[in-house]
């Protein structure tokens, strides 16, 4: 800050205002309305889910019973396998192609580069149910513009064959990539732009070609953003709900309504009114989300809780 506080002529009014300002209750008052929401919808739900997860319906202490009970449910393991398979396919696509596209676009800044970024980023507007509906059309061989690919890559002649359970982790990964990858390309491109030009020039003078430059100089410098994307996407991927829920409706029950872990938790609460088991599953998923957040904050150095 240019107006330094060490200026002796300035120091007395600054000291005079110390007793005022946002200290103690006066500062706290500004936070109270938000704090109420944070407690009601951020902290209390977690505590209540924990309480339910460790107690029986009667309210008696249950220990780990709800966790072992849900983990041995015949639907638990398939749901977990689906979600992990989906997440690993999605993460592979993201890391591989987002980094490749960002590096390709950054190689030569031009108007074309910004047009490409905009086109990649556009599907982000179709999040949630809308993106799933678009892809159900794309997977219907009778109307899809890519019916050739649907026939030959997915080996499907009918819509129901496109969404056969074994293909779903790959299809959901593609939908998630379609909606989210462009945003990440833009972020990575932005991060690449923070690389000082001198570094670029120095490497060029040393005889580095565009490929060496991309892999040896640029890639290491955006590593923490790649780490952030990976951890965040892993945590988000495990929570999958909308996609399988809609596909279940469009498949006449061929795809189970407990395809993902979050769906299983939902069904336990809604169909069986077994809130304790539902809470146990939601605590499992919360733990993954929480772990992801803590790793991002403590390891990537991208967020500071205080300065």
């Amino acid at each position: 800050m240019p107006s330094s506080t060490t200026d002796p002529g300035n120091s007395s009014p600054v000291r005079a205002t110390r007793s005022r300002g946002l200290h103690g209750w006066r500062g706290f008052a500004f936070v109270v309305p938000y704090l109420a929401l944070l407690i009601l919808f951020g902290i209390l739900p977690v505590l209540y889910a924990l309480k339910l997860a460790f107690t029986k319906e009667s309210g008696a202490w249950a220990g780990l019973q709800n966790f072992t009970h849900t983990a041995t449910d015949y639907r638990f393991k398939p749901a977990l396998v689906h979600v992990l398979l989906y997440t690993s396919v999605w993460l592979t696509l993201l890391i591989l192609f987002v980094v490749t596209l960002a590096l390709l676009l950054h190689g030569r800044a031009s108007r074309a580069s910004s047009t490409f970024r905009f086109l990649y980023y556009l599907p982000g507007a179709l999040a949630g149910a809308a993106s799933v509906l678009v892809w159900l059309f794309m997977l219907d061989p009778s109307v899809s513009p890519g019916s050739f690919l649907v026939h030959h890559v997915l080996r499907a002649d009918l819509f129901v064959e496109s969404i056969a359970p074994g293909k779903l982790p790959f299809i959901f990964a593609m939908i998630a990539f379609w909606t989210g990858a462009g945003g990440w390309v833009v972020v990575m491109y932005g991060a690449l732009n923070t690389i000082p030009q001198e570094l670029d020039d120095a490497a060029r003078i040393d005889g580095a070609g565009p490929l060496t430059l991309a892999l040896r100089v640029k890639l290491p410098l955006i590593r923490k953003w790649v780490a952030y994307m990976t951890i965040l996407s892993f945590a988000t991927g495990t929570q999958l709900f909308v996609e399988p829920q809609l596909v279940n409706q469009a498949s006449l029950g061929m795809v189970p309504d407990t395809w993902s872990s979050n769906q299983l938790g939902y069904q336990l609460a809604f169909r069986y009114a077994d809130f304790n088991s539902a809470a146990a599953i939601s605590v499992d998923l919360l733990a993954i989300g929480l772990l992801g957040a803590v790793v991002i904050i403590t390891r990537t150095g991208l967020f500071k809780a205080d300065d």
Binding site: S3, V14, A16, T17, G21, H23, G24, R26, G27, F28, A29, F30, V31, P33, Y34, L35, L37, L38, L40, F41, G42, F97, T100, L104, L105, G107, F116, L122, A125, L126, A127, A129, A130, L133, V134, W135, F137, M138, S142, V143, P145, S147, W178, G190, A235, T236, T238, V242, Q245, L246, Q249, N262, F275, A278, A279, S282, L286, G292, A293, I297
Partner: protein
Amino acid sequence: MALLLRGLRLAVLVAFAIFFVAPMVWLVLAPTKSDRDLVSRGPFTFGSFHNVALAWQHLNAFSDHIFLTWIGNSLVYAVSATAIVLVTAIPAGYALALGSFPGRRLVLTTTLVVMIMPAAALVLPIFLELNALHLIGSVFSVILPFSFFPFGVNLAYIYYSTAIPRELLDAARVDGCGEWATFWHIALPLAKPVVALVLFFSFVSDWNNFFLPYTVLGDSKQYPIQVGLSTLLSSTPAFNPATGGGGQQVGIFRPELAIATLLAVVPVAIVFMLSQRALVRGLVGGGVKE
């Protein structure tokens, strides 16, 4: 060799552009064709505006104009929740950045953790809590959880801790302004860019949310458009052959479903296109969750 590499680079970029854009182009053209045309004609051909009008009539007639009710619900939920977000998050970010009070660090850290955690992880716990409080089925069970938006607090916090000179606020205090007056007359007008950013992010995340309203609302008249789309999907015979009378009674076929999807994303798509630059700054400045 260099020419070959440049050609390869361009080929990869164009191939991905087609992958990202083709489905959207198809969606825009779909309502211009009848259900039969969609199957028989080329996927990227234009039908007629008459078909668009027809598709809209069928969609609008579905279940006693419920489509417009869903759009209206989405607007009510997203606008009122975003209003609460602005009223709560901006002052909170302000005090967290420039104040000092017991518990400040704890609030900051908790905000950061909840912000980075996937939103879906909290839906079942929130449902269980609202269920215990007998609030399920009320519109407040959507609006109030939507109003909790830690990302907005973080954006305001970052802005106030980096972009506002403390001396300016101290000057106002010396001039006799109280804390609220200082915030209202000095700090808030200075934060217009961040207010716009919070408004945008909050609105978009509320508009696109499916899981929470799907879980806490029971009556289809209360659904926001995202959940409404899932009802329409179940009524489309191409995707759900069990639909009674092959869909004849409800009149929802693929063109109707396509126009519904298109209308559902129009508000977000417009803001999205207009605000790419501001968005990117928000993304790079504070990270965002999907």
